[in-house]
């Protein structure tokens, strides 16, 4: 019994960490390249979950629904970057505040369209029965979510380290002026990175649906977690987002399971420690 509790909680933590990675890797890349914390990222995640819900209502299969939901959110991300953030180029403070305003609008529209009741997203049929190994029961769906997050991490790593696009993004993160100077189309990179980040957040939202449900307030629940992941791991670094996500996943999940009253307070401790001793985060490439 006791063993079962610890194993299940550990699995829940890593699955939640995987979701957080999908959310915060995009957040971290956008921050690293454009130097703005995109405060609408939590709203993107929630929008993904609601899109997924509606697509599943339309009898779509789960995986296409996840992909389409993610792309839908990515489209909104592009529109936001092209038509709003671009007009405020150079005014980073204004850009941050505008993303906050947009997150309020998205959250309120979600409340209007999908009402205030929590919407459960059913997990795919094949993944519902628990997996039994050596007498322990594992929730299959969470294992699959973890695997998807790991695959996404490897794919993002390859994209960043092995492709021309990744090299350009890294150049932009390290030195924007120089990157422009050598002829890298930095403004097109902004759009690409925004599409990538928003899509990942949207897919994370759909995949998180069967675990967390889609409910109003999901955005403000997830956004601080993404912020803490980036503060811990360091902005602009994939490795930082990866490690930070799993640290926060563990702390948050065990916090809820063991000291439910103080779940948020426990998150505070690692953040304080990192800020005091390593203000750039564990693997930070840029000063936050």
């Amino acid at each position: 019994m006791q063993w079962q509790f610890w194993i299940i909680q550990t699995l829940n933590s890593v699955a939640f960490g995987g979701l957080l990675f999908l959310l915060s890797s995009g957040f971290s890349l956008i921050f690293g390249l454009m130097r703005i914390p995109n405060l609408a990222h939590g709203a993107f995640f929630m929008l993904g979950a609601y899109f997924g819900y509606t697509l599943l209502q339309l009898n779509l299969h789960f995986w296409p629904a996840a992909l389409l939901g993610g792309l839908g959110v990515g489209l909104i991300g592009i529109l936001m970057e092209r038509f709003i953030l671009r007009r405020l180029a150079g005014n980073e403070q204004g850009q941050v505040l505008v993303t906050l305003g947009i997150s309020f609008i998205i959250a309120d529209i979600c409340l209007l369209v999908w009402t205030g009741d929590p919407m459960p997203l059913p997990a795919p049929q094949a993944l519902r029965p628990p997996l039994r190994i050596a007498g322990f029961a594992f929730p299959t769906y969470r294992l699959v979510v973890l695997c998807i997050a790991l695959v996404a991490a490897v794919a993002l790593y390859l994209l960043m380290e092995r492709t021309r696009l990744g090299a350009m993004i890294r150049a932009g993160v390290d030195d924007m002026e120089m990157a422009r100077g050598v002829g890298i189309p930095v403004s097109r990179l902004f759009t690409t990175v925004f599409l990538l980040g928003a899509t990942l957040a949207g897919i994370g939202g759909v995949l998180g649906g069967p675990i967390l449900n889609a409910y109003p307030g999901l955005d403000t629940d997830m956004l601080p977690l993404a912020l803490i992941v980036v503060i811990l791991g360091g902005a602009g670094s994939l490795l930082g987002a990866f490690v930070g996500s799993f640290i926060v996943g563990f702390i948050y999940n065990f916090g809820i399971a063991l000291v439910p009253d103080l779940a948020y307070f426990v998150l505070f401790l690692p953040m304080v420690l990192v800020l005091v001793f390593l203000p750039q985060g564990l693997f930070g490439r840029v000063q936050i």
């Binding site: 609008i105 601080p224 948020y264």
Partner: protein, 323 residues
């Protein structure tokens, strides 16, 4: 101070003093008190935003700390004055702590850290059921009786709020005109030069953070006296954003801007929420429109417009005179 400002100040003071008689209706007197409380919040955030260039999204956290501390202390049996002093002192102490943490990251990381800290206060208030009543919130037993005055009805509470507000306004005005205020504006515009001149930029910013926290805590105690109730909804990210928007909408780096912004936002919110439920969409829209089209806010914008108009008027006769 020129004679015009003295006259304007006297007129404003007279209007504020007789306001309850002019409007009469209790509902609107209460709204006036609300405007004053939010104006104090906006003024406090503006000390950081306008004069120091520091954008905080965790200001509602002080409402959480000071508000819950005040309610819990009174509920535990302490007298109102002790409770209020304790609440403000505790919250100011937290401001110092939050300031040390947030100032580890200059620039936009600052926004992120203040937001995370504010949300952590919110999360603790939401989850710690035994202490804060969780989602249901807790009631404040009763309004205090400062110096034996009864402030339970709307007009007398308005005067109590006005008194506190005027003291705060005077202090913040002195602050903005003081050498310290000048060095703060220096750290906003030219942090490197200020460092070279021997100013401790970090300390200047931290002290401003703490002072802003202090006045926000005072406003929080007033908020609790006004509503006699506090729940996590009151300290959400929306609240922090509203307060910040008030300062930006009215015009940061002016003293009157945040007051004007607080009045507009509070009135619009009250009027709109009686007709529709979509306040958050409107809040978001105002946010986007203000940032995109009026980044310097209403008060500086109007002043500029006024100057341009009066210059055009004085130029016109001159050009007619010279054919």
């Amino acid at each position: 101070m020129t004679r015009n400002t003295v006259v304007a100040l006297a007129v404003c003071a007279a209007i504020l003093l007789v306001l309850p008689w002019i409007i009469g209706n209790e509902f609107y007197v209460n709204m006036a008190s609300q405007v004053l409380i939010y104006a104090l919040f906006a003024l406090s955030i503006n000390m950081m935003l306008g004069y120091g260039g520091m954008v905080s999204l965790g200001h509602a956290g002080y409402l959480g700390i000071a508000g819950y501390a005040c309610i819990l202390a009174v509920t535990a049996g302490y007298d109102q004055l002790t409770a209020a002093v304790f609440a403000v002192a505790l919250s100011t102490l937290f401001a110092a702590f939050f300031g040390v943490l947030s100032l580890r990251a200059p620039g936009l990381g600052f926004i992120m850290i203040t937001l995370a800290l504010g949300q952590i206060v919110w999360g603790v208030a939401y989850r710690a059921n035994d202490l804060t009543g969780g989602d249901n919130g807790i009631r404040h037993p009763a309004r205090p009786m400062p110096f034996g005055f009864d402030i339970r009805d709307a007009p007398s509470f308005y005067y109590f709020t006005l008194a506190v507000f005027v003291i705060a306004l005077f202090c913040i005005w002195r602050f903005s005109r003081s050498p310290f205020g000048a060095s703060l504006m220096g750290t906003r515009d030219q942090p490197r030069r200020m460092r070279m001149l021997g100013h401790n930029v970090w300390l200047v910013r931290l002290l401003t953070f703490v002072m802003a926290g202090f006045w926000a805590s005072v406003a929080s105690v007033l908020y609790v006296y006004y509503n006699l109730f506090l729940s996590p909804h009151a300290i959400s990210l929306q609240q922090s954003a509203e307060i910040l928007l008030m300062a930006i909408l009215g015009g940061a780096s002016t003293l009157t801007g945040p007051i004007v912004g607080a009045a507009i936002i509070t009135l619009v919110k009250n009027v709109v929420s009686t007709y529709v439920e979509r306040w958050n969409t409107l809040l978001g829209l105002i946010f986007v429109v203000v940032i995109m089209f009026m980044p310097y806010g209403l008060v500086p914008g109007c002043v500029q417009l006024w100057r341009r108009l009066s210059r055009a008027r004085s130029r016109k006769p001159a050009s007619e005179a010279a054919p």
